[in-house]
């Protein structure tokens, strides 16, 4: 019997299941592909699936409970926290992420936030609407210090770009070791000392019990009043109340947020309306060419499934 791969349809991420299958299936005639729309496990093909592919936050308890034959989960995201928290995730199911695809788009979004915040783009565009010619001094990124919390593949892609902008790059890691494009590496236990150095503190650390709420009031208090916080990782890493208080109280100059404790951000969240806070709707991973990029990485793993070399899967997340 052919091994079977189930793909969770994700029109909300512009990532259609059938489209994805049309790109990979011709290379793997020995595998059986099927797309599923329901995310609660009620659709056909779940019980016999050897592998399920999908965005981490689209996996559910129902889906994993129904997947009796499941051996492997491949996410289309770098972060897998939404899968790891599912109780129905069996120990023997191999979990792989899409590490290594998001570096460019996450870095580019971070630059958009850094530039738009320090140039006060909300005001610039308000002025355009009002036909107001108002020139203000604009800080340069050149010569400034960016502290990147997290030193994984995305952080490395960002560090490389920051160096090309003549910035000083400091990394904060739970296991500090020298890496290219980082001028300095500090331990996570020194997060507050690192935050004090930052003109921009960029959060790129995965969400885990250790990082839950780690960007809190004491970290924000350590930052310079001219500094900006940028979170493009996971909302849960930051204490949103503390960010609002720090920006309103002018402890920091502003914040750029792409991720939130609750997504979509509720209509009545106070975050929408704080001057100095720039919001983007969790677009860090989005790219017009995302599916094509994903196919390249996922195909290597599909080859392992087809050849029965499951021990050689890339980007395995231990759990």
């Amino acid at each position: 019997m052919k091994k079977s791969v189930l793909v969770i349809d994700a029109p909300d991420e512009s990532f259609g299941g059938e489209k994805f299958i049309s790109l990979v299936a011709p290379s793997f005639p020995q595998l059986d592909f099927r797309s599923t729309t329901p995310r609660d496990g009620s659709g056909p093909g779940v019980a016999e699936a050897d592998a399920i592919f999908g965005f981490a936050h689209h996996f559910t308890e129902g889906m994993l409970s129904a997947a009796k034959s499941l051996k492997w989960i491949q996410t289309f995201t770098t972060g897998v926290d939404a899968v790891l928290k599912l109780k129905a995730l069996r120990r023997d199911v191999i979990l792989t992420s899409l590490r290594g695809v998001h570096g460019p788009q996450m870095s580019e979004l971070t630059f958009l936030h850094m530039l738009a915040l320090c140039r006060n783009y909300p005001r610039v565009l308000d002025n355009q609407r009002g036909h107001v010619w108002e020139r203000n001094a604009i800080p340069t990124l050149a010569g400034k210090t960016v502290v990147i919390f997290g030193t994984g593949a995305i952080a490395q892609a960002l560090a490389k770009r920051c160096k090309a902008f003549d910035m000083t790059v400091v990394g904060v890691s739970s296991s500090p070791r020298p890496a290219p494009d980082f001028d300095r590496m500090m331990a996570r236990t020194d997060l507050r000392a690192a935050a004090a150095l930052a003109d921009f503190l960029v959060v790129l650390v995965p969400l885990s019990p250790e990082t839950q709420g780690i960007i809190n009031a004491p970290v924000l208090a350590a930052m310079k009043p001219t500094a900006y916080l940028i979170n493009v990782a996971r909302g849960g890493v930051c204490d949103e109340e503390a960010i609002i208080a720090a920006v309103r109280g002018k402890q920091i100059a502003g914040a750029g947020l792409d991720v939130f404790a609750t997504t979509p951000l509720p209509k009545d969240s106070p975050l929408w309306d704080v001057p100095g806070i720039l919001l983007t709707p969790h677009i860090g991973g989005l790219s017009t060419t995302y599916m094509e990029q994903s196919v390249v990485v996922v195909s290597r793993n599909l080859k392992c499934l087809a050849d029965d070399r499951m021990g050689e899967l890339e980007n395995v997340i231990p759990h």
Binding site: E108, L109, L115, Y121, Q128, W133, G143, T288
Partner: protein, 318 residues
């Protein structure tokens, strides 16, 4: 010579320069004026005039009153407001601060490129309305940027674009091999190479040869998904042709920091054209502007006082 030298600094931050000059060159006399209305007869005593190279400061009649003037240091890359003045004599030295703006010019262009590609105006409108609206994001990675003008700004921009994983094509009057440019073509080939551009960024100085060289002939060959950014001078681009190209969807949009007429008149249609981002000629500005100016002005003054005119940076031939 130093004892007899008088430097007149005309600038809202003239005090900054006075303090630096007096610390570094104790022998000289420093006069300051906050603006043109404040110059009065100080200009008559000045051996050196240091100021922004703007029309506001370099008005007709100013240099006629500058009988002792030997050297003008502008705080700008452009010196095109100084050289046409009738009072600008052959024997006067003229230097610019060309090179000081590289980082901020390049950062401005990247800001425009990211804002256009990702439709930042739409995101800010959404935020103002508490609206969660995710839409596809165009990346810079893998795209092609055509940089018109390969001076300091162009080189700084190329360095950053390469780091973003872009293909970089330079368009210049003097093609030469430079780091971070994948290709270099002649200015006469602009209307050919524009067809390859996802982004066309204008950083070329304004001169007779560059007058409105970005016009309908260029827009007509560009991709309908491509964007134009102008941070050089308004007159390098034909604004009427640009409006037509955007309205006819020949290109996807533009970000303009410079205009034919500045400040941009309130009734100019560019203000409210969808897919046009208007900024108030602030590309060259920075929070360390005075320091960047002084990094060139200070050493130049040292050369001037030591009669090493040939060593001065950015000497403009005229």
């Amino acid at each position: 010579m130093a004892i007899d030298t008088t430097v007149l600094v005309v600038d809202p931050d003239a005090a900054f320069f006075r303090d630096r000059l007096q610390a570094d060159f104790p022998g000289i006399r420093v006069l300051t004026a906050l603006g043109p209305e404040d110059i009065g007869d100080k200009i008559a005593n000045a051996d050196v005039l240091a100021a922004m190279g703007s029309k506001m400061i370099f008005q007709e009649g100013l240099l006629e009153r500058a009988g002792r003037l030997k050297w003008i240091q502008t705080f700008t890359t452009g010196t095109d407001k100084v050289t046409p003045l009738k009072g600008f004599r052959k024997d006067m030295l003229l230097t610019s601060t060309r090179g000081m703006h590289g980082a901020q010019m390049a950062e401005m262009a990247l800001m425009q490129m990211l804002a256009l590609a990702r439709d930042l105006p739409r995101m800010l409108r959404n935020q103002a309305q508490s609206k969660w609206d995710r839409f596809m994001q165009i990346r810079l990675l893998g795209k092609t940027v055509v940089i018109l003008g390969v001076g300091t700004s162009g080189e700084n921009l190329a360095q950053r674009c390469k780091a973003m994983g872009m293909t970089v094509i330079g368009v210049t009057g003097t093609p030469r091999i430079l780091p971070n440019f994948d290709r270099m073509v002649r200015r006469s080939e602009l209307a050919l190479v524009a067809a390859e551009a996802d982004f066309l960024v204008i950083v070329v100085p304004y001169e007779k040869e560059t007058h409105k060289i970005v016009n309908s002939a260029v827009f007509n060959v560009m991709k309908p998904t491509s964007f134009v950014c102008n941070i050089a001078r308004g007159c390098v681009l034909d604004e009427q042709d640009l409006l037509v190209a955007i309205r006819e969807k020949k290109i996807a949009g533009a970000a303009l920091d410079v205009f034919d007429v500045e400040p941009l008149p309130a009734d100019n249609p560019l203000w409210r054209e969808p897919n046009v981002i208007v900024t108030p000629h602030h590309a060259g500005q920075s929070d360390v502007y005075n320091e960047q100016v002084y990094d060139i002005f200070g050493p130049n003054l040292k050369c001037f006082l030591e009669n090493r005119v040939g060593d001065m940076r950015n000497l403009i031939g005229h």
